[in-house]
């Protein structure tokens, strides 16, 4: 039976750099990603998207094309359009990675090590009416821009907090796309809490970039700060947005509302694989526990990039390299003849992470937005409201798993990706406990819904080489 040295999950900056460095070190590597080409979300469309080969989305985005080319040149086999549904550690210490390669097909790939580079997702921003068609996340709109060159039309409102909200406004501004209103919901005390971290921010690359972004966004858009409540209005689709600032409440027409509440690690896969995760109170998110190479307490399972803690694309790329060196050291006893390269990546990681604490504090969501009013739907799949969750806690549900059993919150196809953090926040508010003590709903494999046909077709990669499936691609040389 063929056993690879390494399977990498995710083709964003961390996964691509890990693949390049691992292949350079002589490892046999396979990379799996749900997308159709290298890039992940941050570099989505770098090869064939609407702005591939242009600088219209900024120099940071253009870096994705360089990394994608390096990955193609590495010769690493890639399985695109494929979803890893389970990572199991076998008795001999190797891993069985189950991969859905089509709606009726799945394969098992064996490897001695795994690097999970599954990236980030947007933190849920549950508001009244957020399930209406026409309400999307800012990240969704940005992927439509990158991949397809498509932009919102008609009255457009952006609402929430976080650098991505301003980045998107600036990108739209540079392309001549009108945004009617940006509703900034960051709390009033954020500046005061961010101030102690200002020194780190001023020496970061964000300082220059951030001010430029603000300038561009400010010039083109009406920005309303200190917004305390937002709701989406409409019958079968969005028609208006209502917001409250102080004592005034206003309703403005909107065809598209783009919500953003910052980003958090995608932890379903790593949690289900048995890695330990901890609550990060500054970032308001659960993060896996890792060593300096990104290795978890599951020996051989490494995590690189935003799925280990939000650091952005450049930090992710550095962590990808460091994880690859970690795997090399584990399998070969050495990460190469020359540890200068590893030290360079470690330095780049430290530089990339400068300024993050400032941004985390500055763009922190309001407590009232993390724990929405009773009537707001928290679990989109099963349509469970904040009030339903509060009632379950008052009736004695001890934690997220019991709330799930009482209310069905987290039981739908998204497997708590859209409601998990809000559920924990509401339990914390009701009980006075910290989210760290409460914990998250248990996350299990398969981490995405599977069909019976996929389970039936599960076979070792040896019997059905993934390269035979239509979605498999060989790198272009």
């Amino acid at each position: 039976m063929t056993r690879l040295d390494l399977v990498i999950v995710g083709a964003g900056p961390a996964g691509l750099r890990a693949a390049v460095e691992a292949a350079t070190g002589g490892l046999s590597v396979m990379l799996v990603d749900e997308g159709r080409e290298p890039g992940g979300q941050i570099y989505r469309g770098s090869e064939s998207g609407a702005f591939a080969g242009t600088a219209k989305l900024g120099s940071d985005y253009a870096a994705g094309a360089v990394l994608a080319a390096a990955f193609r040149a590495s010769g690493v086999e890639a399985l695109f359009g494929a979803t890893v549904i389970q990572i199991e550690r076998e008795a001999d210490g190797s891993f069985s990675v189950s991969v859905a390669t089509g709606h009726d097909k799945a394969v098992v790939v064996r490897a001695r090590a795994v690097i999970a580079a599954t990236g980030a997702q947007e933190r849920p921003f549950p508001i009244d009416g957020w399930t209406l068609p026409g309400v999307m996340t800012a990240g969704a709109a940005q992927t439509m821009l990158k991949a397809d060159g498509v932009v919102p039309d008609g009255p457009v409102v952006l609402a929430g907090t976080g650098p991505l909200l301003y980045l998107l406004a600036a990108q739209y501004g540079a392309l001549g796309v009108a945004i009617d209103t940006l509703l900034d919901t960051a709390g009033p005390g954020n500046w005061r809490r961010a101030l102690p971290h200002v020194a780190g921010f001023l020496t970061s690359r964000y300082a220059f970039k951030g001010l430029g972004l603000l300038g561009k966004a400010l010039a083109a858009t009406r920005i309303i700060r200190g917004v305390e409540a937002v709701s989406a209005i409409g019958d079968t689709r969005l028609s208006a947005v209502t917001y409250r600032k102080g004592a005034t409440e206003r309703t403005i027409p909107a065809h598209v509302l783009l919500l953003h509440h910052g980003v958090v690690p995608q932890i379903n896969l790593t949690w289900s694989a048995g890695a330990q995760h901890r609550w990060n109170a500054a970032r308001l998110a659960f993060e896996p526990v890792r060593d300096a190479s990104g290795q978890t307490d599951v020996p051989g399972l490494f995590i690189a990039g935003d799925s280990g803690g939000i650091g952005g694309a450049q930090a992710a790329e550095a962590e990808g390299a460091l994880a690859a060196f970690g795997v090399l050291r584990m399998l070969r006893g050495t990460a190469g003849d020359d540890d200068r390269i590893e030290r360079q990546w470690r330095r780049r990681l430290a530089v990339s992470l400068r300024g993050r604490a400032f941004l985390d504090a500055l763009y922190a969501p309001r407590q009232s937005h993390l724990c929405p009013p009773d009537e707001v739907i928290v679990c989109r799949c099963e349509e469970v409201t904040a009030g339903d969750i509060r009632k379950a806690v008052r009736r004695g549900a001890m934690g997220p798993n019991q709330v799930k059993a009482f209310t069905r919150a987290g039981m739908g196809p998204c497997q708590s990706r859209m409601c998990g953090l809000t559920t924990v926040a509401i339990i914390a508010e009701e009980t006075g406990l910290s989210p760290g003590d409460i914990g998250h709903m248990r996350l299990r494999a398969p981490v995405k819904p599977v069909t019976v046909a996929q389970i039936a077709s599960l076979s070792e990669a040896d019997e059905r080489r993934p390269t035979e499936s239509p979605s498999a691609t060989r790198p272009c040389k």
Binding site: E34, P133, T137, V150, R380, C381
Partner: protein, 101 residues
């Protein structure tokens, strides 16, 4: 609701709910559906309300459609192909539909 900013290199034809549409070759299916005027793609399980694309990256499962007979595919993770047949309007079974009170 959405418009095209960059002209595509080519077009393909897909069928949405039985009607043919010319869409950009290689485009994300959820994008093509929004541009074709399909804001709501399915109905929610419990309340039967309209849902459309939300997260755009395979996380939320709100853009589920039937593609060439395969149900509950995430339209945001699929690219259009010439001749693809898409069916919208599915409602996932709610627990109340399957379990007697």
């Amino acid at each position: 609701m959405f418009r095209r900013l960059v002209e595509p290199a080519g077009h393909v034809t897909v069928t949405i709910d039985g009607r043919p549409f010319s869409v950009a070759a290689g485009e994300t299916l959820s994008t093509a559906l929004l541009l074709a005027g399909f804001a709501g793609l399915r109905r929610s399980a419990r309340l039967g309300r309209e849902r459309g694309p939300f997260c755009g990256m395979g996380v939320c499962f709100d853009c589920l459609v039937t593609i060439d007979g395969a149900a509950n595919r995430q339209a945001c993770l699929v690219r259009v192909r010439d001749g693809m047949a898409v069916q919208t309007g599915t409602r996932l079974p709610a627990l109340a539909d399957t379990v007697p009170e």
